[in-house]
């Protein structure tokens, strides 16, 4: 890959850095000195950390032996295209890895490759979704800073979910993804394109034929997946709407406080309390802004991922159905007695095993996924509720300090007589 490497860190130009020492956390600098990823605001950082911690402990019950971070997005410019490349840093104690630390650079396409390889090897395991290729609403530019950050965090979550999966995390393709300096050669190996084509064609043929009978538990699972998909999409939409309404509220608040300040300009005695109220409203505006950021950075991404999960679950169920359909087709052919019984029997047995494997894999992974979902969503909702409590507590303090200032003053100026 030739081309210049331009830092995607535009923040230095866009943000007006003041002396406020807290601002370092607010800054959109994509990496600190030690290379660890920096989220956009302290609260999302705390929650991000907590989210990942919780998930990890839930899944393994023991300590994690592999830590993956995705950071440092860099813009790569070639003659043909421009794209973002991320640094993927892996630290592990696992014996399968030759060393304990790996650093590679990957682009979004590489993540896509990894996921499709995992899907091929384990068609009925529930694999965490990747962030979408293009986000239709709101963001237009692929190189918009927020978009890059959101994607980066989602990519990191994806890799961590894989690393926590009891089966997927030991896949060869996963190891290759994390360790190989050059992926191109690996991409050409493996079943790849042709087998995918074959699978798709078989899938189409089978879906035309229809499934004989789906086992009861998978019928229930299908129903659940449909319903879950609906509900989580609704929650996602409601959350987006709330963010929009909050933003409009914030805009009006910003126009509101100056009206108090302006009025103070023509008053004498009243000037002080008026200016004080103006400042209180301003401080509450800042808290509202924080509240909005939290929703966008913590709750919305998680909801969005589970919307994508629902889609991927539907795909998993389809693949399971196809595997069963393939078996049934061959099984029926066996019964027709027109073909070579022995050879076909072997094939049918193989397919029957495959069905059982697929069903078991899905069953096993189902409860793993449900727990994961419950943990992630629970954590995100709790975090949101906590943030809202914090918001109201801070605003409460602001107004109480105003009351305090008003009660204290009277004893001072009551004796000053005529004020005009």
């Amino acid at each position: 890959m030739s081309g210049q490497t331009v830092s995607a860190d535009f923040s230095g130009h866009m943000l007006d850095l003041e002396e406020d020492e807290d601002l370092e956390v607010f800054s959109k600098n994509t990496s600190l000195a030690d290379g660890s990823p920096v989220p956009n605001s302290p609260s999302s950082m705390i929650n991000q950390y907590r989210l990942e911690e919780d998930t990890a402990e839930q899944q393994n019950g023991n300590t994690k032996d592999i830590f993956i971070t995705v950071d440092d997005p860099e813009s790569h410019v070639t003659a043909i295209e421009t794209f973002i490349v991320y640094r993927v840093l892996t630290k592990t104690t696992r014996s399968e890895f030759d060393t304990s630390e790996y650093e590679v650079r990957r682009r979004y396409q590489d993540f896509l490759w990894l996921r499709s390889r995992l899907e091929e090897s384990h068609p009925t395991l529930i694999i965490h979704p990747l962030p979408e290729k293009f986000v239709m609403r709101g963001m237009v530019e692929r190189f918009n800073e927020d978009f890059i950050q959101t994607r980066r965090k989602a990519l990191q979550r994806f890799l961590n979910k894989i690393s926590e999966h009891p089966i997927l995390s030991y896949c060869q393709s996963f190891k290759v993804f994390l360790t190989a300096q050059e992926l191109t050669s690996h991409k050409k190996q493996g079943a790849g394109f042709l087998s995918r084509m074959g699978e798709t064609m078989r899938a189409v043929a089978n879906s035309v034929r229809g499934l004989r009978s789906r086992p009861a538990e998978f019928i229930l699972m299908q129903e659940y997946v449909e319903a879950f998909g609906n509900k989580i999409s609704s929650v996602d939409r409601v959350t987006q709407r709330i963010i929009r309404e909050q933003r409009e509220y914030l805009d009006e608040l910003k126009q509101y406080s100056p009206t108090y300040t302006q009025w103070a300009g023509s008053e004498e005695e009243l000037a002080e309390p008026l200016k004080s109220v103006a400042s209180c409203v301003e401080r509450c505006s800042k808290e509202t802004e924080e509240r909005i950021h939290h929703l966008s950075d913590v709750l919305l991404p998680v909801l969005h991922e589970y919307v994508l999960c629902a889609e991927s679950l539907k795909a998993v169920m389809k693949r399971r159905d196809n595997i069963q359909a393939e078996f049934e087709v061959k099984n029926e052919a066996l019964a027709s007695k027109k073909v070579d019984q022995e050879a076909l029997q072997e094939e049918v047995d193989g397919l029957a095993d495959r069905v059982e494997q697929a069903n078991n894999a899905l069953k096993g992974d189902w409860s793993h996924w449900q727990n994961s979902m419950r943990t992630d969503l629970k954590s995100a909702f709790i975090s949101t509720a906590e943030k809202n409590v914090e918001y109201y507590e801070k605003c409460l303090a602001v107004w109480e300090s105003f009351l305090l200032s008003q009660k204290v003053e009277p004893s001072d100026d009551r004796n000053s007589g005529d004020v005009s």
Binding site: S234, V238, S266, C284, A385, Y392, L396, L403
Partner: protein
């Protein structure tokens, strides 16, 4: 919640019938307690207790629906004695309050007359009704009318007015009594005069500053009210959208096993959160009403300043007239023409007039000058009286305004605190539910 409660300011009737204000700088409440103060409110307890819808025929014999308000009064000494007689009461419509106020404005042009609550709902945000028949609007108006009466009845000057007393005690025939005062004629001429543009040479600077201030007060309060209404509208949206969480969580909980209960109960709290905004914003309307009162007070203040301009202008006109008449006399007497006049020219052209004619003219002039001097004296007195009395009321108004608005701001903060506390509770509850997921 009653807006800045007007306490009886101190007014003492001195021997010559002129009201004087006795020192009010500090806690006017405390000093008033021990005073003899003769304001009506000290002698009579009053309130606007209820509102009712009525139907009747109006002036052009058409059927109309309107609201009437019940005014209840009780002599203060009966209350103080511990007796609890039933209050006297009568019903009045908004238009009768308007009539009373117009009468007061015309009769006491040096007083900043308390305003009435708005005739039609303004600064309305989308869920707030602009309908005059809406019960919330009627209730707020009831409070506003009561506030108006309390302010008037505790005013050192206005509270002694007989028409006011009749308004509170005689249901029938009151209107006729008011019209009999002939204030209507004064009202019309005053209206014409005030809306005319005229240039005043030497207005009292303090009143010019006050007029400028009244413009600023009007502009700032209306801007604030407009911004506040928009904020209220948006806040309403934020809260109500959370109600959708309630609905979706409830539906979602039906398909979950472990998460079901937690989601369901969290959903209920989201519904509660969405519902809580109605009361919060209704209470905030009272704050808006407190500000509106001073928006309208600004107009009343401006009117007093304009009246000053008018009296000063009339004085200047009268003085000017007197000066020119005196000049004419001088010219006639000495024969020296100082200023150009056609009379002078014709005299020159057609010869001097006969001595008898001149005598007659001089005599007439002397009479006019004497009249003119009387007029100037009257106008000077009128002007001075207006300035003195008005300035006293301006001072009273300033103190009242500062006190009331400061209280209003404090009330606003208290409301915000209450809203925050509710928010903390709802979201803490929701968090408990999420923990159970």
């Amino acid at each position: 919640m009653r807006p800045g409660s007007p306490t009886a300011s101190v007014g003492k009737m001195s021997e010559d019938g002129k009201e004087e204000l006795v020192g009010t700088d500090d806690d006017s409440e405390n000093t008033a307690m021990g005073e003899e103060g003769s304001t009506l409110l000290r002698r009579m307890e009053m309130c606007v207790a209820e509102a009712e819808k009525r139907s009747g025929k109006n002036a052009v014999n058409m059927q109309e629906t309107f609201t009437v308000y019940l005014i209840e009064t009780r002599p203060m000494d009966a209350v103080a004695d511990g007796r609890n007689p039933a209050p006297d009461s009568l019903w009045r419509r908004y238009s009768e309050f308007e009539l009373l106020r117009n009468y007061l404005v015309v009769t006491y042009p040096y007083i900043i007359v308390p305003p009435l609550p708005e005739k039609r709902a303004e600064f309305v945000w989308h869920k707030l009704s602009a309908d005059n028949m809406d019960p919330d609007f009627v209730e707020r108006r009831r409070v506003g009318l009561e506030n108006f009466l309390l302010r008037v009845a505790s005013h050192p000057v206005l509270s002694n007015d007989k028409i006011l007393y009749h308004f509170l005690t005689e249901e029938h025939g009151w209107k006729e009594v008011v019209y009999e005062t002939g204030f209507q004629a004064k009202a019309d001429s005053r209206l014409r005069a005030l809306s005319a543009t005229f240039r005043v040479r030497n207005p009292d600077k303090r009143f010019m500053e006050m007029k400028h201030y009244s413009d600023e007060l009007q502009s700032h309060t209306s801007q604030l009210l407009r911004a506040r209404a928009r904020v209220a509208d948006r806040l309403y949206g934020v809260y109500k959208v959370h109600g959708n969480y309630g609905r979706v969580f409830s539906e979602w909980s039906a398909i979950e096993k472990e998460m079901g209960d937690g989601l369901q109960s969290a959903g209920h709290h989201m519904d509660a959160y969405a519902a809580s905004i109605d009361d919060i914003l209704e209470e905030e309307e009272h704050y808006a009403d407190q500000l509106k009162e001073y928006l309208f007070y600004a107009e009343a203040l401006r009117a007093v300043c304009r009246k000053h301009e008018l009296t000063q202008f009339e004085l200047e006109m009268a003085s000017q007239d007197l000066i020119s008449k005196k000049q004419q006399r001088e010219e006639l007497a000495t024969g020296i023409v100082r200023t150009f006049s056609f009379k002078g020219m014709t005299n020159k052209l057609f010869g001097q007039e006969a001595p008898e004619q001149r005598e007659a003219r001089l005599k007439l002039l002397e009479e006019l000058i004497a009249e003119g001097e009387e007029t100037v004296k009257e106008k000077t007195l009128e002007c001075e009286e207006h300035v003195d009395r008005a300035w006293v009321d301006v001072q009273r108004f300033k103190e009242q305004k500062d006190k009331d608005l400061r209280e209003a701001l404090i009330n606003f903060a208290v409301m915000q605190i209450s809203m925050c506390k509710k928010g903390i509770q709802v979201w803490s509850n929701a968090k408990e539910c999420f923990l159970k997921m």
